[in-house]
């Protein structure tokens, strides 16, 4: 399993991490420009995982993309022209992954029919293209939230109707419609549908998925066999001025080290348990999610138990780093008091320093995931995060 960054707007201290189709001016950008100063691979997805994709704008003519200049409808032809201009290391085929929660069977059928059309067109154009000789094509895995539809789609990818020689990997789409709300999806919400998508597929091709997956859901997806993730989570945490603090280092012995349970975890906005009798708890019973994250009211700051919010006044004179023991540039050089000051003063340096920390933390998290898989300790990692972050005694197992 490996973690690759998706780059946009290349800069040493990059801010947003997904390249997506924006304007037709992309035509003129050469491969050299795209890869300047990069030491990483570049891949392209259709939509921006950090922004909620408006529903209902895809139809037979093409897929809607929201560019700086407004909405544009992209056909497979146009999409492949853009891919040739960008010449990424890999990209996903154009797809209509529209159906959100509660989509009708008909809607799902329309989306799979269109997407199969696009896939075939992309494969044809990809194979014929000189400029894309160095690029790899990934096929989407979709079918809304229907296990049956997803399983059926994946089977059709393995059948003779699709030219498998052109496919180098898979992107799991349609589990959500992008944006910050993906954070609320818990392992239990995605487990069965992802299994349904992956089960028919060849094991040797990489699988990736984008979105603001929270750390526990990431672990679940990794457990199910997903290889590539993106950085929407650290990015959106930065946008709300959060600094990630969740632990992820598995020690030889559970009780020692800077990352043992209870240390360096201050969640000023933490409100973990709603009492069983409260109206809110009852209302949330309908929604299939564990009650381990609560959205604050609109007046308060959005946060999660995985982070501390730098807007919080408790930071005002703290001389310690964002996270004790963290080796990132921000933690080695600056204090919580300074980052808090920058945040309150609305200064541009606040998100720069926070993104450096959050991305560093996220990358280290993935090192830990890889190590845990190698040593068959993925469940221990999951327990570490669950017990530290949620102080819960429930037995949550990877299903």
């Amino acid at each position: 399993m490996f973690f690759i960054l998706w780059w946009t707007r290349m800069h040493h201290y990059m801010y947003r991490l997904s390249i997506f189709v924006t304007t037709f001016r992309c035509f003129r950008i050469t491969r050299k420009e795209l890869h300047t100063s990069l030491h990483f691979s570049v891949c392209v997805s259709v939509q921006d995982a950090a922004k909620a994709t408006p529903q209902g704008y895809n139809h037979k003519k093409g897929v809607s993309l929201w560019t700086y200049g407004g909405r544009q409808i992209i056909t497979a032809d146009k999409y492949m022209d853009l891919m040739e201009a960008m010449q990424p290391d890999w990209y996903e085929a154009l797809n209509d992954a529209d159906p959100g929660i509660g989509s009708s069977k008909k809607r799902i059928l329309n989306s799979t029919t269109s997407s199969m059309e696009y896939l075939k067109q992309c494969i044809t154009l990809h194979k014929a293209s000189q400029k894309l000789k160095g690029s790899a094509l990934f096929a989407p895995l979709l079918g809304g939230r229907s296990e049956k539809a997803r399983n059926g789609w994946s089977k059709s990818l393995m059948s003779t109707t699709v030219d498998k020689s052109a496919i180098s990997g898979y992107t799991i789409v349609g589990l959500h419609t992008n944006g910050p709300e993906v954070e609320d999806l818990q392992p239990v919400n995605v487990s069965n549908i992802v299994k349904a998508s992956l089960e028919p597929l060849a094991a040797e091709l990489p699988r990736q998925t984008a979105g603001m997956w929270n750390p526990l859901t990431v672990l679940q997806l990794a457990h199910l066999g997903v290889d590539i993730f993106d950085s929407t989570f650290p990015f959106l945490v930065t946008e709300r001025r959060g600094a990630l603090t969740f632990p992820f280092r598995l020690n030889r012995r559970q009780n020692d080290g800077a990352y043992s349970k209870g240390s360096c975890l201050e969640h000023q906005n933490k409100k973990l348990k709603v009492s069983e009798d409260s109206p809110k708890a009852k209302a949330e019973e309908e929604v299939p999610r564990q009650d381990n994250k609560i959205r604050e009211s609109e007046d308060e700051e959005l946060s999660s138990p995985y982070e501390i919010n730098m807007k919080n006044k408790s930071n005002v004179s703290l001389m310690k780093p964002l996270l004790e023991g963290c080796e990132c540039y921000t933690c080695k050089n600056f204090t919580r008091a300074y980052v808090h000051h920058l945040t309150i003063a609305n200064e541009l340096l606040a998100p720069v320093l926070l993104m450096m920390h959050n991305l560093h933390h996220w990358m280290d998290f993935f090192s830990s995931i890889r190590e845990a898989i190698k040593t068959d300790r993925l469940e221990d990692l999951q327990t570490l995060i669950t017990t530290s972050v949620f102080e819960s005694n429930e037995d949550i197992t990877l299903s």
Binding site: Y13, E33, M319, N333, A337, H341, I344, E347, L348, L349
Partner: protein, 417 residues
């Protein structure tokens, strides 16, 4: 310093006088002229401050709230900035002087290990706050946070600046809008500024490591300027600032005032003209003998998508740049110009915050490179030629503004047509 034997030699006293008048030394600042222009009043010098040895003339980018438009300290150093400016009004409001006292100053707080300069807070108050009223005691204003009545006195300003810990602090001055017509107001301000200077000097707890610069006032009235100059110079400060300008006055009135001040200010001390940042103004003021400058212009214009170049600025939002794959400036060595094209910047400008960082970095680097060119040309005694070339590149068809021609002529530099 002349000894008895040296003084008896012919010409020695002149040489001794010359040696003395080209350098000065205070507890927290030492200054030495390295070279002078043989035509104009331009000179290049070395000013040693507690945190950094600064080459003059130099330009200070403004890092208002203890940060420079999203740039990391090492990026600002990479752009060759030597001194940056912090605003006492903003920093005194938040995080406030108590935090600085606990933290040991702004250098540590923002991780800037070169020199810092703080202004007094007076100008911000007068320009930002609706109900600021100047009394003999200080500047009376209403707190923007809770509406209560507050007072910024010379003592309070110095107390905040002491806590911030900058290498150079500015006195709290009675600054009048330069477009004010009332002569008496300027007269009051000139005398009051000196009274406030004395209070500031008394209040400075760290004269051994923090310099306090007086500010020359007097509006655009030569007689008032002379009074202010005489009074302020008598306080024997480590350096002096020319204040009350760059407030929208006509350039024809601006340069003679600067010229008058630099004629009277001691040669062997640094002169700081506050609020000057446009390239042409910097070049002219150096010719007039100014050593230090500050301005929000380079970082502010970056926010609007403008990049500084040798003949002004280019607005990268313009469609012309959509297919322009050159860097902003082929001669520039900043990391923006080494890595990104105008076309790339055009696609992101005003849409992605990273554009602001990239342009701020370039603009700061541009200003630093301009000042370096000025210093180098003075060292080689070809500053006059540098000025001529610079103006010819800046003004197409040599349509020089009259004020530029006049100002340079006053110091024996002729712009050819």
């Amino acid at each position: 310093m002349a000894t008895a034997t040296a003084a008896s030699l012919p010409g020695a006293s002149v040489a001794a006088a010359a040696a003395v008048s080209s350098s000065s030394s205070s507890p927290a600042l030492s200054f030495r002229i390295l070279a002078e222009c043989s035509k104009s009043k331009a000179r290049t010098s070395l000013m040693k401050l507690p945190h950094y040895a600064v080459e003059l003339p130099m330009f200070m980018p403004v890092g208002t709230q203890g940060t420079l438009k999203g740039l990391l300290p090492e990026q600002v150093k990479g752009a060759k900035a030597q001194v940056i400016l912090g605003n006492t009004y903003h920093l005194g409001t938040r995080p406030g002087k108590d935090l600085f006292q606990d933290f040991g100053g702004l250098h540590k707080f923002m991780q800037w290990d070169r020199a810092l300069l703080t202004d007094s807070g007076g100008f911000q108050m007068v320009s930002l706050l609706d109900l600021a009223e100047i009394t003999e005691e200080g500047v009376k204003f209403r707190s923007p946070y809770d509406g209560s009545e507050c007072m910024l006195t010379p003592e309070e300003s110095i107390e905040i600046q002491n806590a911030i810990g900058a290498d150079i602090m500015m006195q709290l001055d009675d600054v009048v809008d330069v477009r004010e017509k009332d002569y008496e107001r300027f007269k009051t301000a000139a005398y009051r500024t000196t009274r406030w200077l004395d209070r500031c000097i008394k209040a400075n707890k760290n004269p051994d490591r923090q310099n306090l610069f007086p500010i020359i006032q007097g509006g655009l009235f030569p007689d008032l300027r002379k009074i202010s100059l005489e009074q302020q110079i008598a306080r024997d400060a480590p350096g002096y600032a020319i204040g009350g300008l760059s407030g929208g006055e006509a350039k024809e009135k601006f340069w003679p005032t600067v010229h008058l001040c630099t004629d009277h200010l001691p040669k062997n001390k640094p002169r700081y003209c506050m609020g000057v940042g446009f390239a042409v103004d910097l070049v002219v003021c150096c010719a007039l003998g100014v050593d230090m400058f500050d301005c929000v212009f380079p970082t502010r214009t970056a926010r609007f998508g403008c990049a500084l170049v040798d003949n002004g600025q280019i607005n990268l939002k313009a469609r012309d740049f959509a297919n322009d794959f050159r860097p902003i400036d082929e001669k520039c060595g900043c990391s923006t110009c080494r890595n990104y094209s105008r076309a790339y910047l055009h696609t992101i400008v005003t849409k992605e915050t990273v554009a602001c960082h990239l342009l701020s970095l370039h603009n700061v680097a541009y200003q630093m490179r301009l000042m370096q060119s000025i210093r180098d040309s003075i060292k080689k005694d070809c500053f006059a030629e540098f000025v001529e070339d610079f103006m010819a590149a800046y003004y197409k068809d040599q349509e020089y503004p009259q004020w530029v021609v006049d100002a340079l002529a006053a110091v024996k530099i002729t712009l050819k047509k």
